[in-house]
Amino acid sequence: MLKFIGRRILMLIPVMLGVVLVVFSMMYFSPGNAEDYILGDMATAEDKEAFRVENGLDKPFWIQYFNYVRKALKGDLGISYNTKKPVTEEILTRFPTTFKLAFFSVVVSSILGLTTGIISAVKQYSLWDNICRFIAMIGVSMPTFWLGLMLMLLFSVKLGWLPAAGFKTWKHWIMPALTLGLHSASSIMRMTRSNMLEAIRQDYIRTARAKGQKESVVIWRHALKNAAIPIVTVVGMQFGRMLGGSSITEMVFAIPGLGKLLIDSINLKNAPQVQGGVLFLALTMSVANLIVDILYAFIDPRIRSQYVKVKKAKAAPAAAAKEA
């Protein structure tokens, strides 16, 4: 088990280096210079040169890249060009908001997705199943920002029940969580439905029914538990996706989270902030996926036993097969 976790963490390193390289080179090779944006038109050539030297922008590409990586390992992601504060600090002040949004959305989407998915599977091909599937299909097809605007139109403008923007009270969170969560709810619903359908057809369900077990126990204990593993994976992956994909929702509802900060920084060409933010989000997403993988192994006794019993010789290929 430890070996599996260690291996997965080691695998993260080259991926993160690659992420930095991609974002770094994009910012490096893009037309327009940082000093022009930061210092403005009034700056003299000497000022600009001083700025370049101060920020290490006069060095060749690879040196800049390695300097960046070396500092990043110590947690120093540079100084934000427009606020002059450390990027790490900016990210950490904004991140809790994004995390909260993603968390609420995952809760909302899991509740919606699981209940509708289970009902759909239990009553397959019923009217209810068709309605749920249709709504789920619409849910994955709706652009998040449009859904956000429509909710705003309905609940803030027409009905006046919920505030349109801000993030202070729980009322403010309802619409953003729904907006960000509906897409995921649809994927969770589809996953729950297909896995429950598979589980319900198994022999042990027939056995449970044959021995006279109550239908509710059959569904909730026997079927759901066996269908749960892929569902947990999807929920975890959706959480990671929400952390990285919340920017547009944050823009629509004017929530000052990490996503909004990143979009603003991209427009200002605030390179250290963009690189730091994307790196941070990529890292949190990967860690979220890693945790899901570990959870996966913990929930499923079949997978867990692979890592307990099997010794070194077999553990490595098993882990390799899992990654593949």
């Binding site: 991609v22 994009m26 994955v140 097809s141 652009p143 920002f145 990285g244």
Partner: protein, 294 residues
């Protein structure tokens, strides 16, 4: 397709071609057919917008700003007095043009990467898939936004940005089906006859790995229509005079209180297009999946 599917034909299994079988199975899927019809409708809009609604999607008529939907302007007019319906029909061309080309790019590149990684395995596979992991690790919205922000917003940059962000999906799907095929006996047979790797991949591996890729194409088109509208919504999409659903929506956002129709109609168009490609993808998956054959 021209083959008549009578009961007699259905009984004699040998006469059925694979494609005929696929068409027969796809026809049974109502969702897939509905999706296909909606897509055909959008394709007609994209191919013949001038014949449908006229060429004039750009001229401003400031005396007619914010006309609510009426007989003359079925979907109303926007902040510059331009007809919303006309712009929506022309917008279909923009959206489909970009998303189809983006998916073509990512499908070709992703399939090449996936085939090479899956077919050769080992170190090649490891290196290629780690590169794909890097692309997967960056949130696709952010990757798209930063590419467009870095290189300026033009249609080509958008195609590139959308293409890059879905390469990883294609390569993974292609790789996993190539892996199941590469150890089959007919591949060994082809190798025994002295076929080159290139010939084996293109002639024997790829045709058998095609089904999941076709499904992925449909799903990716849906996803890239969504991303393009998202990028346009935050002002990084198609440059101004070109009509695009996402940017129409974004322009209407400020006046949503009084002129909600400007926001509602383009949104419905986006949703319908994405919905159709998702339905088609689902239908294709069901029709192509050999496990569902009865």
């Amino acid at each position: 397709m021209s083959k008549e599917m009578s009961t007699a034909d259905a009984i004699s299994m040998k006469k059925k071609s694979q494609f005929g079988d696929f068409v027969r199975r796809f026809k049974k899927n109502k969702g897939g057919i509905v999706g296909l019809l909606i897509i055909v409708m959008f394709l007609i809009c994209a191919l013949f917008p001038a014949q449908l609604v006229g060429e004039d999607y750009y001229s401003q008529d400031l005396s007619n700003r914010y006309c609510h939907p009426n007989a003359e302007h079925i979907f109303g007019t926007d902040e510059l007095g331009r007809d919303v319906l006309t712009r929506m029909v022309w917008g279909a061309r923009t959206s489909l043009e970009i998303s189809l080309s983006a998916v073509a790019v990512s499908c070709i590149l992703g399939t090449i990467v996936g085939c090479i990684a899956g077919f050769y395995g080992g170190v090649t596979d490891n290196i290629l898939m780690r590169i794909m992991d890097v692309l997967m690790a960056i949130p696709s919205t952010l990757l798209g936004i930063s590419i467009v922000a870095a290189f300026g917003s033009s249609i080509y940059v958008l195609i590139f940005a959308m293409g890059i962000s879905s390469i990883a999906g294609f390569s993974r799907i292609c790789r996993s089906s190539v892996i199941t095929i590469r150890d089959q006996e007919y591949i060994e047979a082809a190798r025994a006859t002295g076929a080159s790797d290139f010939r084996i991949i293109t002639k024997y591996v790829l045709p058998n790995a095609l089904a999941p890729i076709i499904v992925q194409i449909s799903m990716s088109i849906a996803a890239s229509i969504l991303s393009i509208s998202g990028l346009s919504f935050i002002g990084l999409g198609v440059p101004a005079p070109t009509p695009e659903w996402g940017s129409m929506l974004s322009n209407g956002r400020q006046v949503i209180r009084d002129h909600a129709y400007i926001v509602i109609f383009p949104g419905v168009a986006i949703m319908l297009a994405v919905f159709a490609f998702n339905l088609l993808g689902d239908g294709l998956r069901d029709a192509l999946d050999p496990r569902l054959k009865s």
